[in-house]
Amino acid sequence: MAANINSNKPVALKPVEKFDFFNDERVRSVFYQFLTLAFVGGFGWYLFTTTAHNLEVRGMGSGFDFLSVEAGFDPDFKLVAYEAGVGTYGDIFIIGILNTIYISFLSIIATTILGFSIGVLRLSSNWLVAKVALTYVEVFRNTPLLIQVVFWYIGIFSLLPKVKKSIDLSAGSEVVLLNNRGLYMPWPEPGDLLWLTGLALVVAITAVFFLKRWAHKRQDETGKIFPTLTSSIGLIVLLPAFAYLMTGSPLEWDIPKLEGFNFVGGATLPPAFLALFVALTMYHAAQLAEAVRAGILSVGKGQKDAAMAIGLRSNRSMTLVIIPQAMPAIVPPMISLWMNVVKNSSLAIAIGYPDLVAVFMQTSLNQAGHAIEIVGMTMAFYMFVSLSISWLLNIYNKRVQLVER
C-alpha cells in the first residue's frame, strides 16, 4: 500500500515563458554583437575618411596605377630578366616575391635536414655529442636572429678573401669558388637528349614504387626481407647514369672563369644571400631540433621495449615503430617553423638581400609613395603563404587522425 503513494503519475511541469527583455540571453548577444560591429565599423569609417582627407591634403594619389610605372632601380639579385629603366614596380614586386620564395625554400630544406640531425644527436647515447648538440641549440635559440644575420654578413661573408685569392671549395679544380663577392659555381646547360635521362629517372622511381609493394607482399607471405633500400638507391642512381652515358653526356657545365677583376659565367650567390641562408638555417634548425627531440621522446619507452621484444633490430624499430609514431608530434611544429622561415627571411633588409620587403616595402615605397597599396600587397603575400601552409597542416592533421582510428 505504501508503495502506491509514491507511484502517482508525474505532473508535467510547464515551463513558464517569462520574457525579460534586458536579461534575455538572445537579446543581449544580439546587442553586444551589434555594439561591436558598430564600434569596428565606426573606427573603420574614421580611418577611411581621415586617410582619404590626408591623402588629398598631401596631394598623394591612390590606386594601383603605379605598378605599371617604371622603377628607376635595379635589385642586385634577381631570378627573372629585368632591365633597369624599363622594368616596372609590378616587376619589382614579382622579383621580390621570387627572391623571398627562393631563399625561404632553400633555407627550409637545409633547416629540415640540419634540425633533424641535431635533434637526433641531442638524444645520442654519447654524452659528449649530446652536450655539444645541446650547446648548439641553446646558443642559437637564445640570441636574436637579427644579430646572427648581421654577424654572418659583416663578420664572416664580407671578410672572405678578395676575388684573386678565392677559396676553392672543390679541392683544387677551381670550379666552386668562394670570395667576398659571393659563391661562384658551375651551372648546367642541358643538351638535346637530356630528356632521356629524366625519363630514366621517372622509370626508376616507378620501378622502386612497384618493387616496394612486391617486397612488402613477399615479406607478408614468406617472412623474407628484401633489401629494398639498397636496391632502390641502386636503381635510382644507376638507371639514369646509364641513360646519361649512353646518350653521350648531354649536359654541359658553364664554369665560372676569372676575367679581369671578376668571375664570369656559372651561377653566383651574393654574400648577403649566403649570410641570410646560413643564419636562417642555423637559427631555425636549433628550434626544429627541440621539436624533433620532444617528438621522439613523446613515444613511450614501452614501444621501444616491445619492438625489441618481438625481435626488431635497433634501426628497424626506429623506422617501423618510433618514427611513425613521433611524426604526428613533430610535423605540426615543423610546418609552423617553415612558416617562420618565410617570415624571418624578411630580415634580409638589414643586409641588403633584395627580398620582397626590401625592394617593395622599402625602396619602392620610398620612391613611389602609395603606402597603403604597397603595405597591403606585401602583407597579402605573406598571408597567402601562411594560409597555404596552414591548409597543408590541416590536411596532414586530418590524415594522421584517420590513421589513428
Partner: protein, 442 residues
C-alpha cells in the same frame, strides 16, 4: 637455536666498470667503435673551437686602448674589447644625458623593489601586486624616463604609483617579518582595533586618502627635466619597448583570446581575423606599416613620434601572439570547470575571472616567459627602421672615428648579453613550470 649469522653482510662494492670515471666514460663515450670515433672527432672539434675562441677573445685580447689602431699595435690577432668598453655607456643607455642617468637606474631599482615581493614567501595578495606592477609602474617609469611638465593625468598616476609602491613595500615587510598583510597589521593597531567594523573601513580609506593627498602636494613641487625620445637608446630602449610590449600584450591578449572563444559569431570572427592577420605577417612589415601608414590615420595636427608608432606596432603584434598563448592555456581547462561555475550561478565574467583564468594562468606562465624572450629578441628589429636600440648602438661603434671598422666585437658582446638574459629566463621558466605543476608524478 641455530643462528647462522649475526651481523649483516656488507654489500660488495659495485664493479669498477660501474662506479669509476673509467666506467662512466666507457658507458657514455666509448660504448662501441663508432661511438669512440665520434667521441674523438667531436672532442677534437670542441678543442679547436674553444682554443681559438680563448686565444682570440681572452688570451690575445686587448682591453685597454684608445683606438682601434692602438689595439692593432698591441696585438693584431686578438679581439679589441677596448672599443666595446669605451662604448659601454652608449650600448646600455644610448644617448641619454649623462647627468640624468640616475633616473634610469632609479627606474630599474624601483621595478626591482616593486616586483621583489612576488618571489618572497609569506607575502599575500601576489596577484594584486603583479597587477599594480603592470598597470601603475609604467606611468611612474614613463615619467622618470621622459620627464617634462606633468599633466594632471600624469600627476594623479605618478601619485598613485608612489602611494601604491609605499603600501606594497610596507605590506611585504610586514608579510615577511610577521605574516599577514598591511590590512591585518593596521587592524591590530590599538587605535583601530576597538572601532566598529564600519568605521574601521572608513579609517583605512581616510589614511589612504590623506597619504594620497600628501604625496600629490609633494610631487607638485618638483619637475624632472624633459628628455626627448630621440636621446633614448641602447639596451634601455630595447627593454622599454619590450616591457611596454609585454605589459600591454597581456590584457590585449586575454581580451582577444576570450573574443576568439566567444559564442557570439561576430566577435569571434573579428577576433580571429585580427589575430591571424598579425600572426601571418613578419614583424618588420608591421613596423613599416606603422611608420608609413599611421601618419595617414591621424587627424590633421597630430603627429605621433616614431617611438610611439613602434610601440603601438609592437603591442598589436605581440597581443596577437599572446592571444594564442592565452587560448592554449584556456584549452587546458576541462569543460567541467565551466559547467561547475555555471551551476553555482556565476556569470560569464565571474566564471572567467574567478574560476578559469587563475587555473589557466598557471599553465600559461612558462609560455608567457617564452613569449617575452621572443619579444625581447624581436625588439632588435626596430634598429632597421632607424631607432638606436641596442643593436643600433652596437652597429654604431664601427662608424665612430676611433673605432672605425670594429664590427665583430660589439656584435659578439651584444649576442652574449642577449644569450645570458634569454637563457636565464628560459631556465627560470622551466623551473617555474616544474614548481607550479600539480600533476602527479612518480
Amino acid at each position: 637455536m641455530a643462528i647462522v649469522k649475526l651481523e649483516k653482510t656488507p654489500a660488495r662494492p659495485a664493479p669498477l666498470t660501474e662506479r669509476s670515471v673509467i666506467g662512466w666514460m666507457h658507458r657514455h663515450l666509448f660504448s662501441s667503435v663508432l661511438n669512440s670515433i665520434l667521441t674523438i672527432v667531436t672532442l677534437y672539434i670542441v678543442f679547436i673551437t674553444v682554443r681559438d675562441l680563448w686565444v682570440w677573445g681572452i688570451a690575445d685580447a686587448v682591453w685597454i686602448a684608445e683606438s682601434r689602431r692602438e689595439c692593432f699595435d698591441i696585438n693584431i690577432s686578438g679581439a679589441c674589447w677596448a672599443g666595446v668598453l669605451a662604448w659601454m655607456d652608449n650600448i646600455i643607455y644610448g644617448r641619454y644625458p649623462r647627468e640624468e642617468l640616475w633616473r634610469l637606474n632609479l627606474g630599474l631599482i624601483v621595478l626591482a623593489i616593486w616586483m621583489a615581493p612576488l618571489w618572497l614567501p609569506r607575502v599575500k595578495a601576489k596577484i594584486l601586486i603583479g597587477l599594480s606592477v603592470v598597470f601603475l609602474y609604467p606611468f611612474m617609469a614613463g615619467y622618470l624616463f621622459a620627464g617634462g611638465e606633468k599633466g594632471i593625468f600624469m600627476q594623479i598616476m605618478v601619485t598613485a604609483a608612489i602611494v601604491c609602491l609605499a603600501c606594497n613595500t610596507l605590506h611585504s615587510i610586514i608579510g615577511v617579518s610577521g605574516g599577514g598583510g598591511l590590512r591585518e597589521f593596521l587592524f591590530r593597531l590599538p587605535a583601530i582595533k576597538d572601532a566598529p567594523e564600519m568605521s574601521q573601513r572608513n579609517i583605512l580609506l581616510c589614511l589612504f586618502g590623506v597619504s594620497f593627498v600628501a604625496v600629490f602636494v609633494w610631487q607638485m613641487s618638483w619637475n624632472l627635466d624633459g628628455v626627448p625620445w630621440t636621446q633614448w637608446g641602447g639596451l634601455f630602449l630595447t627593454l622599454v619597448i619590450a616591457g611596454v610590449g609585454i605589459a600591454s600584450a597581456l590584457p590585449g591578449g586575454i581580451i582577444l583570446a576570450l573574443g576568439r572563444r566567444s559564442r557570439l559569431p561576430v566577435i569571434r570572427v573579428l577576433s580571429t581575423a585580427f589575430i591571424e592577420l598579425f600572426r601571418s605577417v613578419p614583424l618588420i612589415t608591421v613596423l613599416f606599416m606603422a611608420t608609413a601608414m599611421f601618419p595617414l590615420f591621424m587627424p590633421e595636427g597630430i603627429v605621433l613620434n616614431k617611438l610611439v608608432q613602434v610601440m603601438i606596432a609592437v603591442c598589436l603584434f605581440n597581443a596577437c601572439y599572446m592571444a594564442e598563448t592565452v587560448r592554449g592555456g584556456l584549452q587546458t581547462i576541462p569543460k567541467g570547470q565551466f559547467e561547475g561555475a555555471h551551476t553555482i550561478g556565476l556569470g560569464y565574467w565571474r566564471t572567467m575571472g574567478l574560476i578559469v583564468m587563475p587555473q589557466a594562468l598557471k599553465h600559461m606562465i612558462p609560455n608567457i616567459v617564452g613569449n617575452f624572450i621572443g619579444l625581447l629578441k624581436d625588439t632588435t628589429l626596430v634598429s632597421i627602421i632607424g631607432l638606436f636600440d641596442i643593436l643600433g648602438m652596437l652597429r654604431a661603434v664601427s662608424v665612430d672615428g676611433a673605432w672605425r671598422g670594429l664590427h665583430n666585437e660589439p656584435l659578439i658582446f651584444g649576442a652574449t648579453l642577449f644569450f645570458l638574459i634569454c637563457f636565464a629566463m628560459s631556465k627560470y621558466s622551466r623551473r617555474l613550470e616544474q614548481k607550479l605543476s600539480t600533476d602527479h608524478k612518480h
